[in-house]
Symmetry: C3
Subunit: 154 residues, 3 copies
């Protein structure tokens, strides 16, 4: 069984909720973009010291996920997704609507839609190798992401 | 790098937490049911203007996910899940317990368990094509879903 | 369409945010550890009666997920993950960095990173068979998990 460490408990008479939107327009159809520093900036501006940072694409062919900032692994991710959910303009019912991006809906499903990051002491409380990424699977056009920071100030 | 738009920050001396339960009983074993309007109704009743709406099945063979309301894509999803995690009454250890639904546990894992939707200005803050679905992978019996709305009023 | 039950709505002038960290060091490289009782204990100590419990690994080769506490199904999960994302020390670009755990990054992606559990009446509001697990895919060393409990007291 794990060791448990009760770190802190904060009570506040004020709840803070900050909203921001990001707009991406990637150069490539498939692209993974690190966004941790942007989220740190939004959290700092929010004044939230303890809480959560919710991040989600507002499009159904992209993903917010947490993983390693290592280019080899990113290639592995894209190759693996292509194997599990190949680009195949004629291979999906969805593509009969005139789209060619059914694979992007499936790829983003494997990667997950949204992510929450804990906020402790005014910072994203991430582990040593955790970085937050925007995963684009049907890019080369403007796509939005919503960020909601919720919690208590200092 | 993306364009950042800081939209709004709200402070409130009152936190609101509303709980609702949904009960589904689908006609088919596998079924995808759009629930966005029901969630809009719950959020409206909660009085939360800024916050989050958490939605999760209370069963381990179903999913809440966000994607497109397009019937061809829904067929693609079900075909794809059947390929990645086939129904196979004799093919899983779990089915030695007398169950035949091991595939449903795996299918729901790919689709994800839960979803959070941001609330802005009293509405679900979804992108243009985002719709919320209940994904049933072992239906034809009553199954529950929990909804928690958390945030601040106007 | 589902039946809707509006269960309760709570308003409070105090937000509570409690933080705890768990440290796992599993005996095996791949292991699934039930953590529901630990989370119940943390929620009880937090004093939160209505809210959410956010749980996330702080490492990128493990997962927090909800599913059945049935050993056959756990074997099915590990066999299935091995098929979808095999251990293959020479088969991934990431492993050129000297690592051999690229598969663990992919396995955890399928299982999902984080989980939120609703809190109602001071307890985790889980369905009858829902149990929370720590999924380890590159263990045999200390790995941390963060727990944030957010909500209102009684």
């Amino acid at each position: 069984m794990p060791r448990i460490e009760f770190a802190r408990s904060v009570k506040s008479s004020e709840i803070i909720i900050t909203t921001a939107y990001l707009t991406f327009n990637t150069k490539n159809r498939y692209e993974l973009v690190k966004i941790t520093p942007i989220l740190e900036e939004i959290v700092a501006k929010s004044g939230v010291a303890e809480g959560i940072c919710f991040v989600s694409p507002m499009h159904i062919t992209s993903s917010i996920f947490v993983n390693d900032d290592e280019s080899g692994l990113h290639e592995d991710f894209l190759n693996w997704l292509e194997k599990l959910a190949p680009y195949n303009p004629k291979g999906y019912k969805h593509n009969l609507t005139g789209e060619d991006n059914a694979d992007a809906h499936l790829k983003r499903t494997i990667m997950g839609r949204e992510t929450i990051i804990a906020i402790t002491n005014g910072r994203l409380d991430l582990g040593p190798w955790e970085e937050v990424f925007y995963g684009e699977f049907d890019g080369q056009r403007p796509k939005r992401v919503i960020v909601k920071v919720i919690g208590a100030g200092t």
